[in-house]
């Protein structure tokens, strides 16, 4: 479960302060398939990076699975991401010099899992996303959809309860995007908390909770509306 309260994020550029997030508060329950939507530049990526501890908020509270992570330092966050958060990016973010298998195994390296076990778990992960026959391919030898599957396998290999995806279908054609979305939907059904940043209405439609951000504020949160009704 993700609970953030009054999160503020300021950027300083040329001694001018820009408020990108201005008091964001929401709760995403465990096992939810949630979408964060909004126009370009509205702060969606910044928000997702804060949820994953890649960026730190200027102010605000953050409870992740009931634990206060507001004041984690970068290395505590590294540990947290390694164990509880899987990341999927728009541009896949695979390491070009590594095979699909080695890319998938990467989070396990930082858990100190022995190489032999890493290989077995990475291969299982690739099988699960239908890429069992592409273990030894480099990212450049794979299509965009296949690369994103590798990235999802990598995000899942350590079995984290939370999955954060920043425009995961943004670089894919429509049909492939729907396939990736279906994988993410099934994961939420298996109990994982899945947060997707998107500006595709079609993607948002599949999600039970849709959080719309504009100018650093939340303008709609479908879950809250449901609960009020």
């Amino acid at each position: 479960m993700i609970q953030i309260t009054n999160v503020i994020k300021d950027y300083t550029l040329a001694s001018q302060v820009y408020r990108v997030l201005n008091g964001i508060t929401f709760t995403i329950p465990e096992g939810m398939l949630a979408a964060i939507v909004g126009p370009s530049g509205s702060g969606k990526t910044t928000l997702l990076n804060i949820l994953g501890g890649l960026d730190s908020p200027t102010a605000g509270e953050y409870l992740l699975n009931g634990r206060d992570v507001s004041h984690f330092d970068p290395d505590e966050w590294a540990h947290e991401r390694n164990h509880t958060i899987g990341f999927v990016f728009q541009s896949f973010q695979l390491i070009p010099s590594l095979s699909a298998r080695d890319n998938v195994a990467l989070p396990l390296v930082y858990r100190g899992v022995p190489a032999r076990i890493r290989r077995i778990q990475a291969d299982e992960g690739l099988e699960r996303v239908g890429l069992g026959h592409r273990k030894h391919h480099r990212p450049a030898q794979l299509s965009g959809g296949q690369q994103q599957r590798v990235a999802i396998a990598r995000a899942l290999v350590g079995d984290p309860p939370v999955l954060l995806a920043d425009e995961p279908t943004g670089n894919l054609d429509h049909a492939t995007g729907l396939e990736i979305l279906e994988i993410l939907r099934q994961l939420s059904e298996q109990g994982k908390t899945v947060v997707i940043v998107t500006h595709s209405a079609e993607v948002a439609q599949v999600c039970r909770q849709v959080i719309e951000v504009q100018d650093g504020h939340i303008v709609t949160n479908t879950l809250e509306m449901e609960q009020k009704v």
Partner: protein, 388 residues
């Protein structure tokens, strides 16, 4: 991340661009090879001079020509006659060269001298006999082995009566010496003595390396040194054409030379290794920039700053240490060629080897630190956005 994963990651980082890695290592390779070779030459040179002083006693002076001053055998009589008291004058010519038996080979300091060398003291015969006056006058191909040479070439067997090849010619071993002892002065143990009359055609010169003059007391030695200095200054019009030195003077010169040499060596090695280190730092900085996005990805997946630091630090250390290893191999190779090319002995020194390894590891550590800190300090968000 486990240590073995860290090492394998760093190693793969290095071999993913082999040519670049080798070029980067070049500075360290040259630095380490230079240390080993220069130390070997220095040890070799020092061992010849100091051994004489330490084993020949305090009544001895050395007369040696400067480069270009003719110094043939006839000087023996001139020196003996110039002094108002009786002395022993022993001529000597030296060179480094290859020696071999049927089964082994090595290098030795070859000394051509006369039978009177034994009477200078300091050495004693363990087996057989020293060179005799008859063997000198008839230019016999006979040889007396220093203790180490006897051991190296014959492995503890009695060498007397065997044949050995010295600089391509066959010699009969007629004697072996007792060990002079340990320490930097033990180089007579590494020598092979042959009649000076056989040394002349073998070395291709009649020029003596030096004359050893033995007097009956240290004060007489100082007196003889003054006499001979005057003699040569008057005769040749220059006080530097022939160098006359009593033991005291030689010791002082030797110590000064050694100090200079050590400083020079340290300086050369330091410069080479710093240049090598800068090369490594430069390439590691390039590597950090090239792999900015990779660093961001690793951080996003759970690498701590320490994991990233270690990855890059290990890579620069492995690179530097590999350079050191190649440098050691190259240095030892060159060292073995020195007696053939420069005609001076080269003495291997284990401490140079240890020094080389310690230095190359330290270079990798010191010069790898800044790039590694830079890599570990990258902001993961910026690193993920970086497109390079």
């Amino acid at each position: 991340m486990t240590w073995s994963d860290g090492f394998s990651l760093a190693f793969h980082g290095m071999i993913s661009n082999k040519l670049r890695a080798v070029l980067t290592m070049l500075g360290v390779i040259i630095g380490v090879a230079a240390v080993i070779v220069l130390v070997a030459i220095g040890q070799g040179a020092a061992s010849i001079v100091s051994s004489r002083i330490e084993t020949l006693g305090t009544n001895v002076i050395f007369v040696s020509p400067a480069a270009g001053t003719p110094f043939p055998m006839s000087e023996t009589g001139i020196i003996a006659h110039a002094l108002p008291f009786s002395v022993q004058v022993v001529p000597e010519m030296n060179t480094g060269g290859k020696v071999s038996t049927l089964s082994t080979e090595g290098t030795a300091q070859i000394a051509g001298t006369t039978s009177s060398y034994l009477r200078l003291g300091g050495i004693s015969v363990a087996a057989g006999h020293f060179i005799t006056p008859q063997e000198v006058s008839s230019a016999q191909h006979v040889a007396v082995l220093g203790a180490n040479q006897a051991l190296n070439l014959f492995g503890g067997q009695n060498p007397v009566g065997s044949s050995i090849m010295i600089m391509g010619q066959q010699f009969q071993v007629i004697g072996a010496l007792n060990a002079v002892g340990q320490g930097p002065g033990a180089s007579q143990d590494n020598e092979i003595f042959i009649p000076i009359t056989s040394a002349q055609p073998l070395f291709g010169t009649t020029q003596l390396s030096q004359m050893i003059v033995k007097t009956s007391s240290p004060s007489q030695a100082n007196l003889a040194a003054d006499y001979l200095t005057n003699l040569y200054t008057n005769e040749l019009g220059s006080s530097s054409a022939v160098n006359v030195a009593s033991e005291d003077q030689v010791l002082q010169t030797l110590q000064a030379t050694r100090a200079t040499f050590t400083n020079l060596l340290a300086g050369t090695a330091a410069i080479a290794l710093v240049v090598g280190g800068i090369g490594i730092m430069n390439i590691m900085l390039v590597s950090v920039t090239e792999r900015t996005r990779e660093i961001g990805i690793r951080r996003a997946l759970g690498a701590t700053r320490e994991d990233i630091l270690l990855q890059f630090l290990l890579e620069s250390m492995i690179m530097s240490l590999s350079g050191g290893l190649i440098g050691v191999v190259a240095g030892l190779g060159i060292m073995n060629l020195i007696p053939l090319i420069l005609k001076t002995p080269a003495v291997f020194s284990p401490s140079a080897l240890i020094l080389a390894f310690v230095f190359s590891t330290a270079v990798g550590l010191i010069f790898g630190l800044y790039p590694a800190i830079k890599a570990s300090g990258l902001d993961p968000i910026h690193a993920l956005r970086y497109d390079g």
